[in-house]
C-alpha cells in the first residue's frame, strides 16, 4: 500500500472477478441472510426476483476478499522493489451502498475501487483517511453494487 501522501484522488484499482455459484449463494444465505429467494430455487422463482439470487451482503463480502488479495499483491510488489509499505485500515464504515441489480447464479462480477476523497485525520496525527468508491459490474455491463467506504491509511513517516 502507498502512504497517504502518495495516494491520489482518481487512483483506480481493478480488483478482479468472482463468479457466484448456487452452492455459495445458498451457503452464505444460510449463515447470514436466510430469506427464501437466497436459499431455495423454487421459492426464488415464485418471488419478484424470479430466480435464486445472492444476498447483497455476500456480494459485498466478496468485494472485501478481492480487495484484501489486491492489497497483498501490492504489498508483495512493493517489498520486491525494496519499498516500505504503509499500513491500512481499519475502515470506519461505508455510505450510499446500492444493490442496483440482483446477482444471479453464475453471474460474474467485476470489482473495482477508486479513491474519491482524502483528508488528514484530526484525531490521529500519523494517519489519513481515504474514501473509496467501489463498484461491481456483471457480465452484461450492469452495475450490481456500489458503495463509498472510508479507511485509515498511514502517513509518510518522513513527511515534512
Amino acid at each position: 500500500m502507498k502512504y497517504f501522501e502518495d495516494i491520489r484522488v482518481g487512483d483506480r484499482h481493478a480488483l478482479g472477478r468472482h463468479t457466484f455459484t448456487a452452492d455459495d449463494i445458498k451457503a452464505f444465505a444460510q449463515r447470514f441472510d436466510p430469506q427464501p429467494f437466497h436459499m431455495d430455487d423454487a421459492a426464488a422463482e415464485a418471488s419478484h426476483f424470479c430466480a435464486l439470487c445472492a444476498s447483497g451482503w455476500h456480494t459485498a463480502a466478496i468485494w472485501m476478499r478481492l480487495m484484501v488479495a489486491h492489497r497483498r499483491r501490492e504489498i508483495e510488489a512493493a517489498q520486491a522493489r525494496g519499498e516500505p509499505v504503509a499500513g491500512v485500515g481499519p475502515a470506519l464504515g461505508f455510505r450510499d451502498l446500492k444493490w442496483a441489480k440482483p446477482v444471479y447464479v453464475n453471474d460474474t462480477i467485476d470489482y473495482a475501487s477508486e479513491v474519491i476523497e482524502k483528508r488528514v485525520s484530526e484525531s490521529r496525527p500519523g494517519l489519513g483517511l481515504m474514501s473509496v468508491l467501489s463498484t461491481g459490474v456483471n457480465q452484461n455491463g450492469e452495475t450490481v453494487i456500489s458503495f463509498v467506504s472510508t479507511t485509515f491509511v498511514e502517513r509518510r513517516p518522513d513527511r515534512p
Binding site: F32, P34, F37, G89, G93, R95, L97
Partner: protein, 151 residues
C-alpha cells in the same frame, strides 16, 4: 403466510432482537473466508493494529446485523429485499465473547410509487453490547409486500 407486512412497520416503533453470542471461531472463520487481515485472524498480530486486539471484520458485523434482522422479523415478513444502505458506521471493535443485541427503529414508511403491491420502510439499526454501547449503527431501507395486496 407472513406475520408482518409493510403496514406493520410504523415510524417510531422500536424493537430489540437477540441476544446472540459472538464466538472467536465465527470471527476467525468469517475473516478467513472474506477478510483475511491479521486484525481479524490472530490475537498477537491484532494487538499490534489500531483495533488493539482480535475483532470481527466490519463486513462480519454487517452480516450479523442482517442475520439478527432476519431472525427478528424479516423471515416472518413479506420482505422483498432491500435497495441498499444509506450509512453503516463501525464504531467499536466487536470482540470474541461479546453478547450482542440489535435495536431496530422505524424512521420512515412510504408506499412504492412504481409498485402498488409494495411499500418501503427505513430503519435505524444499532448493534449493542452488554453495556448498551453501540458497536455499529446502520440506516437502511427495506421493501415489503403490502397486506392489502397479499394473495
Amino acid at each position: 403466510m407472513p406475520k408482518y407486512y409493510w403496514e406493520d412497520f410504523k415510524p417510531g416503533a422500536v424493537a430489540i432482537y437477540g441476544p446472540r453470542l459472538v464466538t472467536r471461531e465465527e470471527i476467525v472463520a468469517f475473516a478467513a473466508e472474506f477478510d483475511p487481515q491479521p486484525m481479524h485472524l490472530d490475537e498477537a498480530a491484532a494487538s499490534a493494529t489500531l483495533l488493539g486486539g482480535l475483532a470481527a471484520s466490519g463486513w462480519h458485523v454487517s452480516s450479523l446485523i442482517m442475520r439478527m434482522m432476519a431472525d427478528g422479523f424479516i423471515v416472518d415478513s413479506s420482505s422483498m429485499g432491500g435497495p441498499g444502505v444509506e450509512e453503516m458506521r463501525w464504531l467499536m471493535p466487536l470482540r470474541p465473547g461479546t453478547q450482542i443485541r440489535l435495536r431496530a427503529t422505524v424512521l420512515e414508511s412510504r408506499p412504492s410509487k412504481s409498485r402498488p403491491e409494495m411499500g418501503l420502510a427505513k430503519f435505524r439499526y444499532e448493534m449493542l453490547d452488554d453495556a448498551d454501547n453501540a458497536i455499529a449503527t446502520m440506516v437502511a431501507t427495506a421493501m415489503f409486500g403490502r397486506r392489502e395486496s397479499a394473495p
